[in-house]
């Protein structure tokens, strides 16, 4: 670029439509990395390539920006999963693996994974928003695991299991991987190979679901029966 052209180009552009999205993206990145309180609005504006005044043209306050960013991030893709899963033709073991891997690639590995860490960090400061996230994302996400497990039990592929906490246990390693990416990965910890890790995890689950009688397990696990609500 010539010196003249540099002088001639406008100091700023009008981009009314693009600003909110760019500001929200910048804000989300910083909120995830630093948390709500430690994020400076000047930094958000700078990262979005505008001044702080512009930020306030599109968002009423720092808190409004935060809520907007979270709520936009929760454009639930869960319905898509529910439709996909109901149409699934393969075994439940295959469905479980598909669920875990596609959840990772479409949610865990994206900015949505960062939102999980952010909400967990800020739950104490934004209880109402955390409750909303809990009900709309976590509970519905768990529902996907409920579906797979009940499907497997109903078809006889999996043994009968109590459902109260199993979905959480299935999800925990995947959620931990998300959290890890946005915390200890940032400070030099060796990065986890997601494919290997998730393959290991799903194989452990499938083994546990397919195992027969094993001596020495607790009464809870061996006697309680699932009550399938899924019709295959």
């Amino acid at each position: 670029m010539s010196a003249l052209a540099k002088i001639m180009e406008p100091r700023w552009e009008r981009r009314k439509d693009a600003r909110p999205g760019e500001l929200a993206t910048a804000a989300l990145e910083l909120f995830i990395e630093r948390g709500f309180s430690a994020t400076r609005l000047d930094d958000v504006a700078k990262r979005a390539g505008v001044s702080k005044g512009t930020l306030y043209l599109y968002f009423d306050s720092k808190e409004a920006l935060f809520k907007s960013v979270i709520e936009d991030g929760i454009v639930s893709r869960i319905e898509d999963y529910e439709i996909f899963m109901r149409a699934y033709q393969g075994t439940s073991a295959e469905l479980l693996r598909d669920l875990v891997f596609s959840w990772w690639s479409q949610i865990g590995a994206t900015k949505l994974g960062g939102i999980a860490k952010l909400m967990m960090s800020e739950a104490g400061n934004f209880p109402a928003l955390a409750k909303f996230y809990h009900d709309e994302v976590i509970t519905r996400g768990m529902g996907l695991f409920v579906y797979v497990i009940e499907r497997g039990v109903a078809s006889g592929e999996f043994r009968s299991v109590p459902m109260e906490y199993l979905p959480r246990i299935c999800a925990a390693p995947v959620v931990m991987l998300m959290l890890w990416r946005h915390s200890f990965d940032l400070c030099g910890a060796k990065q986890i190979d997601a494919d290997v890790y998730l393959a290991m995890h799903t194989d452990m689950l499938i083994r546990a679901f397919k195992s027969g009688d094993i001596a020495g397990l607790t009464a809870t696990e061996t006697t309680a029966a699932a009550s399938p609500s899924v019709k295959i």
Copy 2:
């Protein structure tokens, strides 16, 4: 208390030895609940029953307080576990269950569980401290699971498994329970019954470790061999 006694009792006491601990406890609670940036030193002092000036008699700065609180919280109990485990006489399945349950009762359910959430939230703002926590707590904690698994494989109780990520997968549901207690539990989410949850988790693990050949698992899991470093 009579009006006279009330007038007579000192407005404050000298308690040089007790102050640092009381301040650190108050600070830790607030840091866990609100995060570092959102915690006000006036609130810390108030909760510890002193003025802000007193806080600065014992800690150089807010950041020094934070580091002190974390480092004190990392008085590693892991050595005790290592000794206990090496002397263990029962099966590896029993040892695994013992490890999970005693980890929960002695670490997860205490303030140390809160530190995990705090470090995860603040990893981006205190990378050096996060690295320290990672090396001293997380890596060594994983080592406990490495020990149990290798012990079970060496004795023939567990099948041979690749070790790279299995300890993380075993720990993930326990860690998630810790994080949950300090995040979504605070905003009305139904509290998890730790005993039932952990029993379910350990049973799943033991089933997976004891399972024989299962069709349809990935090559990684079925062919890779563990290289036990533990002598039983």
